[in-house]
């Protein structure tokens, strides 16, 4: 059997006992995979994501991340290092107001020497396209730059899994594109596994696999081509198909084309040129 970097079995969670937020979630993720998790507010996406580095302790079920048992208190330290998170609001995760110090905090905290921590911070800043920002004030950066500093802070600790929770939803389009490029580079250059929670269906269309969450459960999981063209499924989860798929369905209705709906612009081009 293939190695899995995330193995969740029957994970359930309730903040209030009578109203479970997460119900019996099982999900496997392969190393290097880019998985998008979509679902409306309150569907359980964030609660699930926060289990991955034990920000929320496991109540029920089994969870292994990078071979570490999430319910083992002795594995917590390693788990946090193996799985880094970037949140919606970067200001909530800065520990220093100076970019270089903030990014070096992670590796220093995990026991790297001053010198090694600085080197790791430098290379992480280069990786996110913020070379030369070491001495800048994080609060004087744009939202998109702040998100890349947050990502660099995560990269500097060398995580095998990076979880992004609505990390692009509060920044401008340029900031979003820069962050997406930096994440994709981290994946191709470092082989990191990416778990991306998003409302952006165009972004989800670029994933290897899409997981749809609904009422605390995994409603579906599959390739973007399968999941993001299932109008009924998405509507039941409060979601919409990507624009390209919606345009294709309209084209089919108008009678110009036939065949399965594409989900990316590249897919639309090749479908139209067939």
């Amino acid at each position: 059997m293939d190695e899995k970097i995330v193995e969740a079995r029957g994970v359930s969670h309730a903040y209030v006992r009578s109203r479970p937020t997460l119900r019996n979630v099982s999900l496997d993720v392969s190393p290097g995979e880019l998985v998008a998790i979509v679902g409306e507010n309150g569907s359980g996406k964030t609660t699930f994501a926060r289990h991955l580095n034990a920000l929320i302790p496991l109540q029920e079920g089994e969870l292994e991340v990078a071979g570490l048992n999430a319910s083992d208190p002795d594995a917590l330290w390693e788990l946090r290092r193996a799985c880094g998170m970037v949140f919606q609001n970067p200001e909530n995760q800065f520990v220093s107001s100076v970019v270089g110090e903030d990014v070096a905090f992670g590796p220093r905290n995990f026991g790297a020497s001053e010198k090694d921590a600085s080197t790791l911070a430098f290379s992480a800043l280069v990786a996110v396209g913020l070379e030369g920002f070491e001495r800048r004030d994080v609060h004087a950066l744009s939202g998109g730059q702040q998100q890349r500093v947050a990502l660099a802070g995560v990269l500097a600790s060398g995580p095998r899994v990076i979880v992004l929770d609505e990390a692009t939803s509060m920044i401008d389009p340029q900031g979003r594109d820069d962050l997406v490029s930096a994440v994709l580079a981290a994946r191709s250059e470092r082989g990191a596994t990416i778990i991306w929670i998003t409302h952006d269906m165009e972004l989800a269309a670029r994933a290897d696999r899409v997981v749809v969450m609904r009422n605390g459960e995994v409603a579906a999981t599959g390739s973007p081509a399968d999941v993001l063209t299932d109008e009924e499924l998405l509507a039941s989860a409060g979601l919409e198909m990507p624009l390209v798929a919606r345009a294709w369905k309209e084209l089919v209705r108008l009678g110009g084309v036939q065949g399965p709906a594409p989900v990316t612009v590249e897919g639309l081009v090749s479908a139209l040129c067939m």
Partner: protein, 280 residues
């Protein structure tokens, strides 16, 4: 409400001793209907809204409301009750223990009877797809992010502003809450309000706005019908901004040799533009 800015400038103190021009000689007029304001972070969008709301006083220039000077004299007080500003992430400003008290606070402060306040709040909640009966007794802090945003917008709509200003109303919302906000914005405009929406979300503006204005370094760079701007990916791109997703897709198709007619703003329009392009 007819609101106009004439040669308005406003500078902030950036680093000590350093002035940053947030608005630089802006002349704009807004009438009934929805106008979208786009611009990169720091371009002056939020400052523009705050000047229109009377919350920030410009260093120079004039603000006219229905043709009257709104920066000096008695007129100021008269207008303030007719203007509603929804700040960025407005749910951060909740302070009442229950949703009902949160939404009626402004109405009661204006001397409206509790009964009438409840009627208006209930109507505004309906516009945002929420039920006051269902949520009224809950703490606003215990709601989901999408519900919080809708409650915050409903609180402003319940005041029935003639000038409604919204700063990034859809940021961070899921599709259902986003659609509820957009349809509430349209219904405020249908009731005759002048609405100005500052947003990065080109698809949201394509859905609600009739006109779009772009800002760059505190100056107006583009001003025109929504289709001329958000339907034109090259023009928006030249200003470092994003057009509607349909327009960006149309551009990508054209670059790959597919003929696409016109300036589509939605998926349906894109499909029609492709069909038309094939017939050409």
């Amino acid at each position: 409400m007819y609101v106009s800015l004439e040669d308005v400038s406003l500078a902030y103190e950036g680093a000590p001793g350093e002035k940053v021009l947030a608005l630089d000689g802006v002349t704009l007029a807004f009438d009934a209907g929805v106008t979208g304001v786009m611009g990169r972070t720091g371009s002056g969008k939020s400052t523009l809204l705050e000047v229109l709301a009377g919350a920030l006083r410009p260093d120079s220039g004039r603000l006219l409301v229905d043709g009257r000077d709104a920066l000096h004299g008695d007129a100021v007080r008269g207008f303030s009750g007719q203007i509603g500003l929804v700040f960025q992430i407005p749910e951060r400003q909740f302070f009442e223990p229950t949703v009902e008290r949160e939404v009626s606070f402004g109405l009661l402060a204006r001397g409206i009877s509790p009964r009438e306040a409840r009627r208006r709040a209930s109507h505004a909640f309906g516009l945002l797809g929420l039920s006051l009966d269902g949520l009224g007794r809950r703490s606003p802090f215990a709601l989901s992010g999408g519900q919080q945003r809708r409650v915050a917008i409903a609180s402003v709509l319940a005041m029935r502003p003639r000038l409604l200003l919204l700063d990034e109303p859809t940021a961070g919302l899921d599709p259902r809450s986003r659609e509820a906000c957009l349809s509430a914005i349209c219904s405020a405009a249908d009731d005759g309000a002048t609405v100005v929406v500052a947003s990065h979300d080109a698809n949201a503006l394509a859905r609600v706005a009739g006109r779009v204005v772009t800002l760059e370094d505190g100056r107006v760079t583009l001003d025109g019908p929504v289709r001329d701007l958000l339907g034109n990916a090259d023009l928006m791109g030249a200003h470092g901004l994003e057009a509607a997703c349909a327009a960006r897709t149309a551009r990508a198709l054209r670059r790959s040799g597919v003929v696409v007619a016109g300036s589509p703003l939605t998926a349906e329009e894109l499909a029609a533009a492709i069909v038309l392009g094939r017939a050409l």
